[in-house]
C-alpha cells in the first residue's frame, strides 16, 4: 500500500506544491504545509475507495488541511496592496516570474475564495467544486464570477 501511495503522490505532487504556495507566504511555511498535507493524505489513504478521481481526493484533503491546520505566527496572508507588476505583461518575463505574480494575486483572496478558484483554474466542473467545498452547484457559478471580478481588480491595481 505504501508503494502505491508514494507512486500516486509523486505523480500528483504538483497539486501539493500549488496549494502550499497558495495558502502560505514564506518558503518555510510552504514546506511545512507540504509535509502536513503528505501526512494527512497518508492517514486518509486507507479510506480512499476510488469513488472519485485520485486528483480530486488529493485536492479535497490538501485544501482541507491548508485551511484547517494551525499556522505558526499570523493568520492574515495579506502582504501587498497591489501586485508588484502587471500580470498581463508576459512578453519579457520568464515563466517563474509570471507564476510568482499569479500566486501573489491569488494570495490576496480569502481562504474560501482560494479553494474555489484553485479548483476552477484546475478545470474542475461546478459539480466537482461543489462536492469538494460543500457549497451548492448553483452558488459555485455565482462565487466564481465574483472571484474572477475580484482577481481582475487585484491584477489591474
Amino acid at each position: 500500500m505504501e508503494e502505491k501511495f508514494l507512486k500516486i503522490l509523486k505523480e500528483n505532487q504538483n497539486i501539493l506544491h500549488k496549494i502550499s504556495r497558495l495558502y502560505r507566504d514564506s518558503h518555510d511555511d510552504q514546506q511545512d504545509l507540504f509535509q502536513e498535507i503528505v501526512y494527512q493524505l497518508w492517514k486518509s489513504f486507507p479510506a480512499f475507495r476510488g469513488d472519485a478521481k485520485i486528483s480530486t481526493w488529493i485536492y479535497r484533503v490538501a485544501l482541507n488541511t491548508a485551511i484547517a491546520s494551525f499556522r505558526k505566527a499570523k493568520i492574515s496572508t495579506d502582504h501587498f496592496d497591489s501586485i508588484p507588476e502587471q500580470l498581463q505583461h508576459n512578453d519579457n518575463s520568464g515563466i517563474s516570474e509570471n507564476e510568482e505574480r499569479l500566486f501573489a494575486a491569488l494570495r490576496k483572496l480569502n481562504d474560501s475564495e482560494k479553494a474555489i478558484i484553485s479548483l476552477f483554474l484546475e478545470d474542475y466542473s461546478y459539480q466537482e467544486i461543489a462536492t469538494i467545498t460543500g457549497i451548492t452547484e448553483n452558488y459555485v457559478g455565482v462565487k466564481i464570477n465574483r472571484i474572477k471580478e475580484k482577481l481582475k481588480m487585484i491584477i489591474n491595481k
Binding site: 501511495f5 509523486k10 504538483n14 502536513e36 501526512y39 479535497r60 484546475e122 467545498t133 474572477k148
Partner: protein, 184 residues
C-alpha cells in the same frame, strides 16, 4: 491577462520534484514539523507529572493532608494530562469531513469543546494545587499575599489562554461564514 491565461499559468505551476524517499519520510510523525515537537512536549510533561504523582506524597507531606485532598490532586493531574493528550489528537486531525464546509463545522464544534475542557482542567489543576499547599497551613499576612499573587497570576494566564482559543474559534468561524453566506 484573461482567465484562459490564468488557467494555463496555474496548470503548469507547481513544479518541484520531491523524491519518493523524502515523501516516505514525510508520512512519519517523527518527521512532522509541528507534531514531532508537540509529541516530545506532551511526553516530557506527562513523565514529569507522573513522577510528581509518585513522589509528592513523601516529598510534599501528602501523609499530613486529608485523604480527599490527595485524591483531588491525583485526579486533577490526570485530568491535566488527559487534556494535553486530547489537544495533541485535535491538532493531529485537522481534516474532519468529506468537504470543506463539514470539516470546518466539525472543527469549530471541537474547538469550542476543547476550549471549555482545557480551561476547566487548567482551573481545576491550578485550584487543586493551591488548595493542596494551603491545607493545614497557618496563614500569616505574607502567606495571604503569596496566595493572592498566585491566584492573580493564574487568572491572568487563564485570560490569555481563553483569548488564544477564542482567536482560533473566531478565525475558523470567519472562514466558515465566508462559505455559508453563499449557501444561504
Amino acid at each position: 491577462m484573461d482567465i484562459k491565461d490564468l488557467k494555463a499559468e496555474w496548470q503548469k505551476a507547481g513544479s518541484g520534484s520531491v523524491n519518493e524517499e523524502t515523501l516516505k519520510l514525510m508520512t512519519k510523525i517523527s518527521q512532522h514539523p509541528t507534531l514531532r515537537k508537540l509529541r516530545i512536549k506532551l511526553i516530557s510533561e506527562a513523565i514529569f507529572l507522573i513522577i510528581l504523582l509518585f513522589v509528592y506524597y513523601d516529598g510534599f507531606d501528602g501523609d499530613k493532608k486529608p485523604i480527599y485532598v490527595n485524591v483531588l490532586l491525583v485526579l486533577s493531574i490526570l485530568l491535566y494530562i488527559t487534556n494535553n493528550f486530547l489537544g495533541f489528537l485535535f491538532i493531529k486531525n485537522p481534516v474532519r469531513g468529506n468537504n470543506i464546509i463539514v470539516s470546518l463545522q466539525k472543527l469549530c464544534l471541537v474547538l469550542k469543546r476543547m476550549t471549555v475542557f482545557s480551561l476547566l482542567s487548567s482551573t481545576i489543576y491550578a485550584a487543586t494545587l493551591i488548595f493542596y499547599f494551603s491545607v493545614s497551613v497557618e496563614f500569616t499576612f505574607l502567606k495571604y499575599i503569596l496566595l493572592g499573587t498566585m491566584m492573580l497570576i493564574f487568572v491572568i494566564i487563564s485570560f490569555f489562554s481563553y483569548k488564544k482559543w477564542k482567536q482560533k474559534i473566531d478565525y475558523f468561524s470567519h472562514v466558515l461564514s465566508a462559505y455559508i453566506k453563499d449557501v444561504a
